[in-house]
Each structure stands twice: as structure tokens, then as C-alpha cells.
């Protein structure tokens, strides 16, 4: 198939949204400060260690995504994946408290050409809360997505249990 271009994923977006009882500034800080980003980014069972953080339009970011629970370390090893993954990208749009885009360069999938993955975030203030809308281009590499889902599903269940207990 010579005319196949990797644009189909760009046609299929996943949109998730939440409303938090906090001003947009606080939500924005969790996306755009090093400490904020490190406090939540990545799936359960991983932690993030930021190395480069240039929070402005076009600014670079590099970080390691590190499996840090025994279960996740074992899961990654079972799947033949590294327990620490160097990740890099840049900020795209950067309109404080309103709109942000994060562009990751996916260049660590064996056998797949590098591609970019964009996450867009919009913040809509609503009285004493802020609605946050995240628009994601799913990773187009099916192996990576399947691996992510298999690896993360167990962790998501744990998270659910924790919240339901809370």
C-alpha cells in the first residue's frame, strides 16, 4: 500500500473532560510546572523524572518515565519493555490558563518510524470550578497501545479500589 499515510489516527480523537473545583491557574500549574507535572503525569505505577522543562510555546521537555512499583517493574520486564523510558517533546500552543498543547515525539517503538503525538488541553472557567477538556490523538502504533492497555489495566483497577474506599 504505497499511498498509506499515517494520518488516520489524526482523524480519530479521544476526548476526556473533567470539572475540578479549582481555578484554572491551579490546573494550568499541574501541566506547566515541573513539580506539578511530576505529581501526576503518567500511568499508575510509574513516576516521571523531568530533565528539561521549558514551559513556553515551542519549549522543549524531556523526562524519564520510570516504572516504580514492583508490579509494574515486573510487568514491563515480562513484556520485554525497559523499566525507564526516555521521552521527549515540546510545548505547542501555550496560552496561560486557556489552552495548551503537548507534543511528544514517539521514537522509541522498535520497528516503527518516529511520529508525533499531540495532546490538547482547554480550560474553561465556570463559576468556582474549571472544566478541563483533553483531546488526545491515540498512539497509532497498535502494539504500543495494546501494551499500554495490558500493562495499565491492572493498575487502573487498583486506583478504582482506592477511590471507592475513599
Amino acid at each position: 500500500m504505497t499511498d498509506a499515510s499515517p494520518t488516520a489516527a489524526a482523524q480519530a480523537f479521544v476526548v476526556v473532560e473533567r470539572t475540578y473545583k479549582a481555578p484554572a491557574e491551579e490546573l494550568w500549574a499541574l501541566w506547566t510546572t515541573k513539580a506539578g507535572f511530576e505529581s501526576w503525569w503518567g500511568p499508575q505505577g510509574f513516576r516521571v523524572e523531568v530533565h528539561t522543562w521549558d514551559a513556553r510555546a515551542g519549549g522543549e521537555l524531556t523526562y524519564d518515565m520510570i516504572a516504580d512499583s514492583p508490579e509494574m517493574v515486573a510487568a514491563m520486564k515480562n513484556m520485554g519493555q525497559p523499566v525507564s523510558q526516555a521521552t521527549h517533546g515540546r510545548f505547542g500552543e501555550f496560552r496561560p490558563h486557556a489552552r495548551l498543547s503537548l507534543i511528544h515525539v514517539i521514537d522509541f517503538i522498535p520497528g516503527a518510524d518516529p511520529y508525533e503525538n499531540t495532546i490538547e488541553v482547554d480550560f474553561f472557567p465556570a463559576s468556582e470550578a474549571t472544566r478541563m477538556v483533553v483531546t488526545i490523538q491515540p498512539h497509532r502504533d497498535p502494539h504500543w497501545t495494546r501494551m499500554s492497555i495490558e500493562g495499565f489495566n491492572g493498575q487502573i483497577k487498583k486506583l478504582d479500589q482506592r477511590f471507592s474506599q475513599g
Binding site: 498509506a4 488516520a8 475540578y20 491551579e26 499541574l30 500511568p43 483533553v134 497498535p142 499500554s148 487502573i156
Partner: protein
Amino acid sequence: MHMTTFEALSDPTRRRIVAALREGERPVGDVVRLAGIHQSGVSRHLRILDEAGFVSVRPDGQRRLYALRPEPFRELEAWLEQYRQLWEARLDRFGAALDQKRADKTPAPEEPEP
């Protein structure tokens, strides 16, 4: 979810063909007209869609009739749903981090003097 699912829909002409077939089974001539595409490449595009499982084809006298098959669309939908769930979990973590940050900022109430 196979790479071919994405590749099959990566081409705008093929997406127009899929849109044209939403109305139901059609012969090639109708597909060309409804999709507003050139006759020249339509067989190749239909073959690719057929190979990726998006369309079925059956003979009807001299004609061949094309129709959409639901399976790859269901597969695509299920795949996107799984992806969405991953992000829902991620936003759970975001919310927990936000709560933690707000709790850290709020001064603890003073213990009453005994």
C-alpha cells in the same frame, strides 16, 4: 486492531467511499458518483477496503455490489474506548494531585489548647 485498519482509512478518497456506502449496498458506478471520485482508482481503493475488512462485495449479474461491514468499525470503537479509559484513569491522578496540592496549601487547623 491491525495497522491496516488505520491505513485503510488514512486515505481521504477511501473515507469518501466509506461515507458513500453508509447509505447501503452500491455498485461501483454509484460509489464513483456519490463519492465524487475518479473512476480510475476506484477499484484499487475498493480492493484495499475489502482487504482491510471494511467492505464486502457480491456479484449481482454483471455488476459487483459493495457494502460496508461493521466489524472494523466496532474494533475501532472498542480500541478508542480502551484508550479513553486510560485517560480517565490519568485524570483521576490529576484530580488526586490537585487535591493534594490544595490540601498542602491549606493551613492545618490549630489544635485547641488543652
